[in-house]
Subunit: 262 residues, 2 copies
C-alpha cells in the first residue's frame, strides 16, 4: 500500500509543491481522480480545445485554465499547475528538452493548461464492481497501442487514436461497458471489443507504450480510448512550446472518482 | 401535421437554400435533431468554445465549423450554414441590425459557426415514453426564465443560466430525469426540480421568453438548462459581429434524436 494511499489530495499537492515528493502518483489518494496535463501557448489553444471537443473519448477535458493563470479553479482548489505535479516534461519544437520537478520559471502569460481525464478513475470503479484489471493484477503499466482509428482533425492537430487494452472474461464485458458508459469524463465506453486487427493492431504482445499483459483462454481484449492520444497528437504537430506531466506523474485532483459518474 | 413532417432533412435544407421555404422549422423532419446557431469571429471563438466546455448543460455543442468554412461536416452533410437556415439574425456590437433569409453575402474568412443542441430532441423522447409536455399540449412555445444560477465564466463571456420549464405530475419526474440523463448532448438532466424561488424565479406565470403554461394540482415544475443561455451570454458581451438563427428557425440536421443517446 502506497504511503499516501489515504492522504488528502491538498496535503499531497502541498508536499509536491515543496519539492518533498517527486515520485509517480499511482496508488496515492485512493478514490480521487488523477489528471493528465498538456500546457500549450494560447496561439495553439483554440485548435487544441476544438480537437478535444471533436474527440471527447480520447480527450475528456476535466478543466482548462484561464490564459496565463497557473491556478486551477475547479478540480483542485488552490492548485498551482506549474508546481503541483511531481515531474514535468518540457518540449520545444516537438523535442523533449527538459525533465523537471517545477515549471514556474518557464511559465508565460500566454500559456493555457489542459487537464484531461485518466483511466485510473474507471479502473477503480471496475475493481469495485469485481471486474478484473489484468495489468494491476500483474503489477504492470497498462498496455497501449497505436490504432488505425482516425481522430477528427481540428486546425493543426490530426492523427490516429491510441487505445489502452484490458483483457476480460466474456461474462464481464457487458458489466465493464455499462460501468464505463456512466463515466464519459474518463474515456467512457470501449471503442472496440475483440479482434485487435480490426483496429490496426498487429500483435497484442507488443504494445507501443506500457507493458504486455497475459490474455487467458476465454477472455477477449477490450480497448478504451487513451489519454496518451492528445500527447501523441500534440507532439506530432511539433508545437513551438509545450509542457506535459512526466509519465505516471499525474495531477491529484479533489474530485472523487464517483463524482465523475453522472 | 406539418407538410414537411416526414420529409428528409437534406431535401428540406435544399428547399431552404433555394429560398423556397422560410418558415419556422418546428414539426419538420420528425425524429431528426434541430440545432441552434451562433456564428462568431475567430477572435471570440476560443472564449466561446471554452464557455461551452465549462457549461455543457446550457451549451451542448453538436458541431463547430472550421474557421472561415461555412460547410458542416458531421451533423448535416453538404450543409452550407450561411444558406440552409430559413431565417437569420445579424448583430453588430450587440445590436440587432438585420433579419434575413441568407447570410452568404455577410460571410467572412474569420467566422466560426457553433451548432448547439436543442430541447426539441429530448421532448420527442419524453413524448415517446408517455411523459406529458405541457406547452406542446397547449400549442405554445416552451416557457423560459432567467435564473440566479451563474454560468462558469470564460474570457469575455459570463452571466446567468436561462432555463426552460415543463410541469410534470410527481409520478413522471423520475422517468423524465432518466430519459434526459441519457441525452447529455441536448441539455441532459434537469438543473432544478420544484420551488422556482430556489433558482431566482419569482413568478412562473411570467416567463422571460416563450409562453406561460398551465401548472395543474399534483404537478411540480421541472427546469432544464436552455439553449437560449449562450445567445443571451453572447449578446451581453456585445460582440463586434454575430449571426444567430431567428427564434424557431433552426438547422435541421441529419442526426436522429435517438442517436443523441449514448
Amino acid at each position: 500500500m502506497n504511503e499516501y494511499a489515504h492522504a488528502a489530495p491538498a496535503a499531497v499537492r502541498e508536499k509536491i509543491r515543496a519539492g518533498a515528493l517527486t515520485t509517480q502518483t499511482s496508488g496515492m489518494c485512493l478514490g480521487y481522480a488523477q489528471a493528465n496535463l498538456a500546457v500549450l501557448p494560447k496561439a495553439l489553444a483554440y485548435d487544441f480545445l476544438l480537437f478535444t471537443q471533436r474527440n471527447p473519448k480520447p480527450c475528456p477535458i476535466l478543466e482548462v485554465s484561464d490564459v496565463g493563470d497557473p491556478f486551477l479553479k475547479t478540480i483542485a482548489k488552490g492548485c498551482n499547475i506549474a508546481s503541483d505535479i511531481p515531474k514535468y516534461r518540457v518540449y520545444r519544437n516537438g523535442e523533449l528538452t527538459e525533465e523537471t520537478e517545477n515549471v514556474e520559471h518557464l511559465w508565460r502569460d500566454d500559456l493555457v493548461a489542459f487537464l484531461i481525464g485518466c483511466s485510473f478513475s474507471f479502473e477503480s470503479e471496475l475493481l469495485e464492481a469485481g471486474v478484473s484489471v489484468r495489468h494491476i493484477e500483474e503489477g504492470k503499466n497498462v498496455p497501449m497501442y497505436k490504432t488505425n482509428i482516425p481522430c477528427v482533425p481540428a486546425g493543426v492537430f490530426s492523427g490516429n487514436m491510441v487505445v489502452s487494452m484490458r483483457p476480460l472474461p466474456y461474462d464481464q464485458v457487458v458489466k465493464a461497458v455499462n460501468i464505463t458508459a456512466s463515466m464519459p469524463r474518463v474515456h467512457g465506453t470501449p471503442v472496440h471489443i475483440g479482434d485487435p486487427a480490426a483496429i490496426g493492431i498487429r500483435d497484442l504482445s507488443k504494445p507501443d507504450f506500457g507493458d504486455a499483459v497475459t490474455v487467458r483462454p476465454g477472455e477477449t481484449p477490450v480497448f478504451w480510448a487513451c489519454g496518451v492520444t492528445p500527447q501523441s497528437i500534440v507532439m506530432h504537430s511539433r508545437p513551438e512550446f509545450c509542457i506535459t506531466h512526466a509519465p505516471g506523474h499525474m495531477l491529484i485532483t479533489d474530485i472523487k472518482n464517483t463524482d465523475l459518474k453522472f
